[in-house]
Amino acid sequence: MAVGVKVMKRPEEQVSYIRATLKGMVLTFKHMFEPKVTMQYPEQRSADDWTISSRWRGTHRMMADEQGRSKCVACGLCPQICPANCIKLVPGEDEVGNRYPLIYEIDEFRCVFCGYCQEVCPEEAIHVGVHYENAEYSRDRFVYDLERLTAQTHPVSTLWDPTDPRGE
């Protein structure tokens, strides 16, 4: 054996193969009858001791006002702060001077889910969501447009722990 391998000095009477093996076998046999810890995912999505955190940052959701229009005023803060540069915003203005987004697209593949867009938004319009099931059949389906972002219904992230907002 190679020189320099550290070998623990154990009391000789404690070092055995056969008795230790039997002890181990008793342990593994007991484990066969213990309750299973597997969560059977598609049927079961949360358990008593495991639920998804309200701070989870998943795919985005755009909030809408009472008339069903998006709350976004196209101020341009979210594409400015976005570290991944994944938000595409073209602002527009209607006849009474209200700004609204002509194009608002988020490329979810580029997104790093930092949640800065939600933090920076003055109108509480764009949010990251508590959502993780995003499978699609093609890549271009991952560029979410305004209509799709507004249509999302999943809960939005709180970004911080509501019981401990200052992180104390």
């Binding site: 391998v5 070998v7 009477e13 070092v15 055995s16 056969i18 008795r19 484990h31």
Partner: protein, 411 residues
């Protein structure tokens, strides 16, 4: 051909079909069982998506493996590369032919077919494809052929991991084959025969050999594990060291063949253990099963299945209990512990049998085996509590401790 010979041929063909079908289906189910047992021992559920409780999982795995691409390494020796899985696979299946699965079944028939002529059979038919007079010698001989498959697979892949796996497999099998053979000699001394049916008959007359030959049983089980290349002796595969060892370069059905061979070998070793040490299809505490009959055949067949199944479970149980040996520990366990103990036990048993036969002059088989049982209890205590206390079993422990203290007392 005489009508009797034709009847014998017909029955043999039927028995072959039944045995091989049962083995192949059983092996498929064993892969599921392995995953289930491992899951239960780790507080998981195991495969439960395909079919009821995952029972169709082996079929899904098989279908996947058939549809997968066959890959060939660029520099592989193609002929041997293709032959290696077959060399591993065929001996594994051949072994199932010689193990008796139940008490003899009385079969009487006589009928005539056009062109083929008359078929006739009368009397008890042994429930084994071939009750060879060379018995377990055949098993030892054929099971060591399987090593060629593994060694050739390792060599012909032209990959360093596969080659190391193949080399380890050869070294390990050669070392433990000796202990395996030596552990069966005391059994030979008691029965005087290597034929499986004679061994079962001897256990019916006396005791199950696990009692009078306990140390033999222990040595046989441990070397059997080494022969199977299963944990804790799975050096040839050793995922963490050699990716997948000898079958690193194999894909699709060729990989499956190695897998089937491994599980078929598990069945064989389990059946061997049940037959050689646990009375085969013998029911304990009754001689009702010794007269041929249909009910006897069914009950003893079930008994044999349960015994074999227990040892199959035992193999999996050990696998999910113990970690892998280090390679030098494996070798020192084989050469410095297993073989000396097997030889020493052979000497003691020979002396004891001679002493009982000629010194005391006991003629009752049961009493003779009882005395041997007492001797074995003492020997087992000696082995488990005195010999197995650290240094003697783990050969490398002492060596390292000495060299470490020479090198400056580290550790």
């Amino acid at each position: 051909m005489t009508p009797e010979f034709k009847g014998f041929l017909l029955l043999s063909v039927i028995k072959m079909l039944v045995v091989f079908t049962v083995i192949l289906v059983g092996v498929a189910m064993l892969t599921l069982m392995e995953r289930k047992v491992s899951a239960w021992m780790q507080n998981r559920r195991g495969p439960n998506r395909v079919g009821w409780a995952g029972l169709l999982q082996p079929a899904a795995d098989g279908l996947k493996n058939i549809l997968k691409e066959e890959t060939f390494p660029a520099q592989a020796n193609l002929g041997l590369f293709l032959m290696a899985p077959m060399i591993a696979f065929i001996p594994a299946l051949m072994l199932s032919a010689v193990i008796p699965v139940a008490s003899p079944l009385p079969v009487n028939f006589e009928f005539t077919l056009p062109l083929l002529g008359t078929f006739r059979h009368s009397g008890a038919m042994p429930m084994v494809v071939a009750d060879l007079p060379i018995g377990f010698l055949f098993v030892l001989a054929i099971s060591s052929l399987g090593i060629y498959g593994i060694a050739l697979a390792g060599w012909s892949s032209n990959s360093k991991y596969a080659l190391l796996g193949g080399l380890r497999a050869s070294a390990q099998m050669v070392s433990y084959e000796v202990a395996l053979g030596l552990s069966l000699i005391p059994l030979l001394l008691l029965t005087g025969n290597v034929r499986f049916s004679a061994i079962i008959a001897a256990q019916q007359d006396g005791l199950w050999f696990v009692l009078p030959l306990f140390i033999s049983f222990f040595l046989f089980l441990v070397s059997g594990f080494a022969e199977l290349n299963r944990l804790p002796f799975d050096m040839p595969e050793a995922e963490s060291e050699l990716t997948a060892g000898y079958h690193t370069e194999y894909s699709a059905m060729k990989f499956s063949m190695f897998f089937i061979a491994e599980y078929a070998n598990i069945v064989t070793i389990s059946a061997m253990t049940a037959t050689l040490f646990f009375g085969g299809w013998d029911l304990p505490f009754t001689s009702w099963d010794e007269t041929p009959g249909v009910a006897q055949t069914l009950v003893t067949g079930l008994m044999f299945f349960l015994k074999t199944f227990f040892f199959i479970f035992f193999v999996m149980w050990i696998r999910w209990t113990l970690p892998r040996f280090r390679y030098d520990q494996l070798m020192s366990l084989g050469w410095k512990f297993m073989i000396p103990v097997a030889l020493g036990y052979l000497v003691i048993t020979t002396a004891a049998i001679w002493g009982i036969d000629h010194g005391i002059g006991i003629t009752s088989v049961r009493l003779k085996m009882g005395i041997l049982f007492g001797l074995n209890v003492a020997l087992a205590w000696l082995l488990f509590w005195v010999v197995d206390s650290g240094r003697i079993v783990s050969g490398s422990y002492r060596k390292t401790a000495v060299s470490a203290s020479v090198a400056g007392g580290e550790g």
